[in-house]
Assembly symmetry: C2
Homo-oligomer: 257 residues x 2
C-alpha cells in the first residue's frame, strides 16, 4: 500500500518544491516506485522535473480535484526511472474558488487517490504556500506530513501556526494524519541564525526533526532552470548528497513504524 | 492624497514582507507619513515591526475586510516615528473563505480605505504568497503594485503568471492599477544565477526594474527576531543602505509621475 506524504508549510520559499523533487528522485534511485502530485498553481515541481508549460495546458491535478479524473488519466512519466508525476496545469489557479461551494470539498483528492495507488510505494504531494483548500485536500488525503523548515526567523514563527492547523485537521477530517518529520533546509554554517533556529526546532520537536540537514548550495537552485533534479544535474554536490541521505533516513524511519 | 502600493508576488519567500517593512521605515525616515497594512495571515510584517502576537488577537486587517471597521478603528502606532500599521490577526486565516460568498468581495478593502487615508502619504500593503481573495483585495484597492523578485529561477518563472493576472485585474476590477516597479532581492554577487536572472528581468521589463538591487545580507534576516526593521537594527549594513536607496529612488519616480 502506497504511503502518501504531503510536503507542506504555509511559509513561502522554505524549500517545499525543492524537497519534493529531490527526495522523490532519491527515493526512486533507491528502487522505490514514486509519484509526485503537484498541487501548487505555480507548477514549480512540474517545471523542475522538465515538463514544459505547453505540456501542462489541461488536466493534471486540477482534473483530479474538479473533474473527477482518475490517476491513470492524468499521470505522466518523468525522465527519472521509477518517478511519475501528476503535473499542475494553469487552471489549478481557479480550483480553490471552484471547490468552495462543492460538496465534500476537503475530500476530493482523497477520493481520487483511494485504492488507485497500487503501483506506487511513495506519493509526495507538493503544496502551495497557504493553508487553503488545496493544502487542506493534500492533508486530508495524506498519511503523514513532511515540513521543510528554512533556518530563518519568519519560518520558525510560522511553525506554531502550522501545528495548530494540523491538530484541527486531525480532529475534523483525518484522524490518522501524523507528522512524518521536519527537515531543516538552506542551512548555512556561516550564519549564526541557522544554529539558533536549529536549536529551537530540535528543542521543541525532538526526534521528529530529521538528523539530515539540507545545506544552502547554489547548485540546488541552478538545477530547476535545466529541468532536472539536483541528483541528475550534479550528483556529487553537497545538496544532492544531503537529499540522498534524507531518503535513506526516511526509509529507515518508515521501516521502524 | 495617499498613494497605495501593494507589495505582491505569488511566489513564496521572495522578500515581500522584508521589502514592505524596510521600505516603509526608510520612507518614514524621509519624513513621509506611512501606513503598512498586513494582509498576510502569517502576520510577519506585524511581528517584524515589534507587535507581539498577543496584541493581535482580534481586529486589524480582518476587521477592515469582514466587519466593516474603519482605518481609525484598527490602526496601531509602531516604534518608528511616522509609521503606523494595521496588523494581521489570527482570524485573517479564515477571511478568504468567509469572503467568497460575500457581495463585492473584491472591493472590501478599497471600500474601507476610500477617502480615509488623508493623514498618510504612502500606504504599503504586504500580501500573502498567493493570488487569492486577500491579494485580489489589495490589488483592487491599490494605485500600483511593487513586485519583489528573488534572483532565482522559480521566482523568474512566476513573473509571467503574475503579469497575466495583473492584466486581468486591470480589465475586470481596477483600470488604473499600474506596475510601480520590480525590485531585485537577495542578490548575491558570487552566484552567477543572480546575474542571469537580473539580465532576463531588465531585458524584459526595462525601466520598470529599480536600479537599486537589495543584496543578500544576513543582518536583514536577523532583524525580525528583534522586532525591528533593518534600518533600526543595523543602519550601516548593506541591506539597510540598499533600502534607504530604494526609498530615494521610489520618491524620485513618484515625483516624476
Ligand atoms: N538547499 C538549497 N540551497 C540553495 N537554494 C535552495 C535550496 N533549497 C531551495 N532553494 C531555492 O530557494 C528557493 C525557494 O525554494 P522552493 O521554491 O523549493 O521553496 P517552496 O517552499 O516550494 O516555495 P513556495 O512557497 O513558493 O512554494 C528556490 O529558488 C530554490 O531553488
Ligand atoms: N536581502 C535579504 N538578505 C537576507 N535575507 C533576506 C533578505 N530579504 C529577505 N530575507 C529573508 O528571506 C526570507 C524570506 O523573506 P520574506 O519573508 O520577506 O519573503 P516573503 O515574500 O514575504 O515570504 P512569504 O511568501 O512567506 O510572504 C525571510 O526569512 C527573510 O528574513
Ligand atoms: Mg513550491
Ligand atoms: Mg511575507
Amino acid at each position: 500500500k502506497a504511503r502518501v506524504i504531503a510536503v507542506a508549510n504555509q511559509k513561502g520559499g522554505v524549500g517545499k518544491t525543492t524537497t519534493a523533487i529531490n527526495l522523490a528522485t532519491a527515493l526512486a534511485a533507491c528502487d522505490e516506485r514514486v509519484l509526485i502530485i503537484d498541487l501548487d498553481p505555480q507548477g514549480n515541481a512540474s517545471t523542475g522535473l522538465g515538463l514544459d508549460r505547453m505540456q501542462r495546458t489541461r488536466g493534471g491535478s486540477y482534473s483530479l480535484l474538479i473533474e473527477g479524473a482518475t490517476i491513470a488519466d492524468v499521470v505522466v512519466e518523468t525522465d527519472i526511472p521509477g518517478l511519475d508525476i501528476v503535473p499542475a496545469s494553469v487552471d489549478l489557479v481557479g480550483a480553490e474558488l471552484e471547490l468552495v461551494n462543492e460538496g465534500q470539498r476537503e475530500y476530493r483528492l482523497r477520493a481520487a487517490l483511494d485504492g488507485r495507488l497500487g503501483q506506487y510505494d511513495y506519493v509526495l504531494i507538493d503544496c502551495p504556500p497557504a493553508l487553503g483548500l488545496l493544502t487542506l485536500n493534500a492533508l486530508v488525503a495524506a498519511n503523514a506530513v513532511m515540513v521543510p523548515v528554512q533556518c530563518e526567523f519568519f519560518a520558525l514563527e510560522g511553525l506554531s501556526h502550522l501545528m495548530r492547523t494540523l491538530q484541527r485537521i486531525t480532529r475534523a477530517f483525518n484522524a490518522s494524519l501524523e507528522i512524518q518529520g521536519l527537515v531543516l533546509t538552506m542551512y548555512d554554517r556561516r550564519n549564526k541564525l541557522c544554529g539558533s533556529v536549529e536549536n529551537d526546532v530540535r528543542g521543541f520537536f525532538g526526534d521528529k526533526v530529521y538528523r539530515t540537514v539540507i545545506p544552502r548550495n547554489v547548485r540546488v537552485s541552478e538545477a530547476p532552470s535545466h529541468g532536472k533534479p539536483i541528483l541528475v544535474y550534479d550528483t556529487r554536490c553537497q545538496g544532492a548528497q544531503a537529499y540522498i541521505k534524507l531518503a535513506g533516513e526516511l526509509l529507515r524511519r518508515e521501516r521502524q513504524r
